[in-house]
Symmetry: C2
Subunit: 167 residues, 2 copies
């Protein structure tokens, strides 16, 4: 499938595997444009939890350009860990959400700390698409950058680091 700026799924995998070999579940998570939480839950056969490390409203700053807003515009900045059974960290994710893109009906859910974005999109029946901006192996770990786009604008920029050494 074409994803990262026209790169196909197989091309992304080949590029990553120049660094190190990936397991099948790593290949799936690295290349998906679907919900990572949903894939993790299905793979593990158990619910995963969201643990918030940091969350605050701040000015967009240097992130403004990729979000398509002005530097002084407010964004919701959130750092979370997706954790499996026993608190094991599976994913660490940092996200930036322009406040002015948030409709009231789902603003409250999105500002709450413990709900994964995929669940919010499902609950509020939000039509969107995800665009992979970058996928790489760094320090042995897969790192992904992608945007969730809705109504033609970036609803959320997400940077993920994939942990879980037994994937």
């Amino acid at each position: 499938m074409e994803t990262k700026r026209g790169k196909t799924t197989i091309e992304i995998i080949k590029s990553l595997e120049k660094q190190r070999r990936l397991s099948p579940i790593e290949r799936i998570i690295a290349t998906t444009t679907g919900s990572v939480t949903q894939i993790l839950e299905a793979y593990l056969g158990e619910e995963v939890g969201i643990h918030t490390i940091e969350q605050r409203v701040k000015e967009a700053g240097e992130m403004a350009e990729v979000l398509g807003i002005r530097k002084g515009d407010k964004v919701n900045y959130r750092v979370v860990e997706i954790r499996g059974r026993g608190g094991r960290v599976l994913i660490k994710a940092v996200s930036w959400t322009p406040l002015k893109r948030l409709k009231n009906r789902f603003k409250d859910d999105l500002m709450r700390a413990d709900i994964p974005i995929g669940k919010i999109l499902l609950k509020h029946q939000i039509e969107s698409r995800r665009e992979l901006r970058d996928v790489k192996v760094e320090g042995g770990r897969i790192k992904r950058t992608y945007d969730i786009i809705s109504d033609g604008g970036v609803l959320m920029r997400i940077e993920e680091v994939i942990y879980g050494d037994d994937f």
Copy 2:
């Protein structure tokens, strides 16, 4: 994650596993609201192909209600096999697409036989969501029914049977 009429990913899996045990990749494919083709390609580490068994324009008939159109309205009816290396059948999918929902810019791609829907949505940057309508085990095989929804209407109703005994 909540998917099938409010059922979470884990609830769907538990319900399916009353019939038989599922492998991790079966659990992922059974519950995903993302692109099945993309997941298959990542899992197998190889491109998969679409082989068309049947394709024709016909009247919606009894499918009209779920598609939100009239019985006499035209739909594109398509039966395909997703095949892996050596022609092995991985998925058989039947789909119904209301012609009046198709914008010209992607109508040609969607009517072409050999392009998976996920690739078309990516190429044309179509914002959508997928809603699982039914997932069950029948004759030992997982069967899924889901809708791809865009601009508030059903763009495509899809019924899938998952093959591939070594998943």
